[in-house]
């Protein structure tokens, strides 16, 4: 019969239309600013710099090794190494970034900087409401704007942050043991010289 296929299709549409009043599974959207779907843990938007403790300058994990700057595909990271050194979390003297800018109008959220960072210093944020009317300065983030605490990192990526914390703690234990060993060796050497 001519028109049978159309009627069959109409029946499907009607089923979907009336179904949306009864079945929650057929309601696929939410009304955005009022209702929000929580982001997935793996969600990524733009990178930020992690710091330990309270002071963002003292606790900055980044040692300005410039690997991320080199590996970044669209070259949106700009780093200037410091002249002097400051002790990092393990007590070792390290450089720090005197300047660390990310142009998030260029960044394409590919996460390669996070993958290549050997110091767990750069991670992906989940903040996405970043629109601004200042299209040049407003989207060029400097190191102060990029610095976010480890607590924040734990909040947005709990499972991933737990792994990173465990890894850093293990490294610290190792470094402490090594430092203790060298200190003891020094004391022994001094004692030996004395005798």
């Amino acid at each position: 019969m001519l028109g049978e296929g159309i009627l069959k299709g109409m029946a499907e549409t009607a089923k979907n239309f009336f179904g949306s009043y009864f079945s929650a599974a057929r309601m696929t959207t939410v009304e955005y600013p009022e209702h929000r779907i929580a982001p997935y843990e793996a969600a990524r938007v733009f990178p930020f710099l992690v710091f330990d403790g309270k002071d963002w300058q003292a606790g900055m994990r980044c040692v300005a090794c410039q690997i991320c700057e080199k590996e970044c595909p669209p070259k949106c990271i700009f780093i200037e190494k410091s002249k002097d050194k400051k002790p990092d979390a393990l007590g070792k003297l390290q450089f720090y970034p005197a300047r660390f800018d990310i142009d998030i109008s260029v960044c394409m959220s590919c996460q390669i900087c996070v993958e290549v960072c050997p110091f767990e210093a750069i991670k992906m944020d989940t903040e996405f409401e970043l629109s601004t009317d200042d299209r040049f300065g407003g989207l060029l983030l400097d190191r102060k704007q990029l610095a976010k605490s480890n607590q924040y990192y734990r909040k947005i990526h709990p499972a991933e942050a737990a792994g990173v914390d465990a890894k850093l703690a293990a490294e610290k234990v190792k470094a402490d043991a090594k430092a203790k060993f060298t200190a003891e060796a020094k004391i022994a050497a001094i004692a030996g010289e004395g005798a």
Binding site: I6, G9, Y40, P73
Partner: protein, 390 residues
Amino acid sequence: MSIAETNTEKFEGWNRPAPIKLEGEGELLEVAMGPHHPSTHGVFRMDVALDGERVIRLRPVFGYLHRNHEKIAEGQSYLASMPYTDRLDYICPITNNWAYALAVEKLAGQEVPERAEYLRVILGELTRYQNHASSIGFLIQEMGATGTPLMYAFREREKILDLFEELTGARMMVNYMRFGGCRVDASPGWLDRTRKVVAGLTKFTDEFDRLLSTNEILMARTQGVGVLRPELAVNAGVTGPMLRASGVNYDIRKVDGYGIYNRFNFRVPLGDHGDVYDRYMIRLLEMRESIGILQQALREIPVGPVMSPTARIRGFRPKRGEAYGRIEAPKGELGFYLISDGGPNPYRYRVRPPSLINLTVLEDMCLGVNVADVVLIFGSVDIVLGEVDR
């Protein structure tokens, strides 16, 4: 008028073919469809010469979305091109990743662990499913059915994109595959949710089938329109659902058996007439085959690492040589051709995009049809301009 005759016309100025004059009839009407036209999926222009409603000549004009992808890739490390491949065919980024990773793995002789291969198949088939569903939706939209089938397809696509986001962190720009495996492992919870989504896909495919396949308007508009002969399809290098709709049995998953595809039982649907309706039907049937592959892969996926221990992220320098890696992407044969001179970046990097090569037969399919059917035939090719222009 044949194509050979129109090609001999002298060009005056940039890309402007001379007006065609018919004996005793004056000039033809030339219409520029696009680059901003509701029927073009991106910025693509068709210069159509019309005799009344009939198409006499059609010239595709490419390049509005050219991003210099190949040259950029030649100046960067192998890894840095991976996120750019997401942006070629942005409807199916996973298969782009896969083809590129396959080419580099061939170049470097890199092994891929079992679990990573299964994850690639699962994600690749999910991609194929959502690509075919939304491309059918777009095709029907171009016939004037604004919204309904497309929104139904997008409702299902949304579920698949949610799975992608949960695993890779992004809905579309996934940047997931690495040379020698995949970036992150899938949790058991993710696999369970995928099983649940895949279980729902059969129901959706049936719904889509009932909604469209026997619709008289769709049949009247598409059957016998835009016929592509198998000889021409083979000669023009057309691949994917377009080629199979013309009746040529060529599926790289079967021919090459790349990855672990030779372990899966699936059939290759073939068309009879090579018209728009066959292309629609092939996509629908391939969606069903994809569900079968997905169920099998989700049942058999082993535990283990997802990255090969010999894989390198930084300082990756494959030895001198060349490699061509190709896969059956949802749109056709997607290949990456790489030449390495032993340095950190490829000496030559070339993409063989299915969208562009399938578009080359557009004029042959459109000659003599009404101008309203041009839109339909163009929609049935299933292109993404990000891949056509690169």
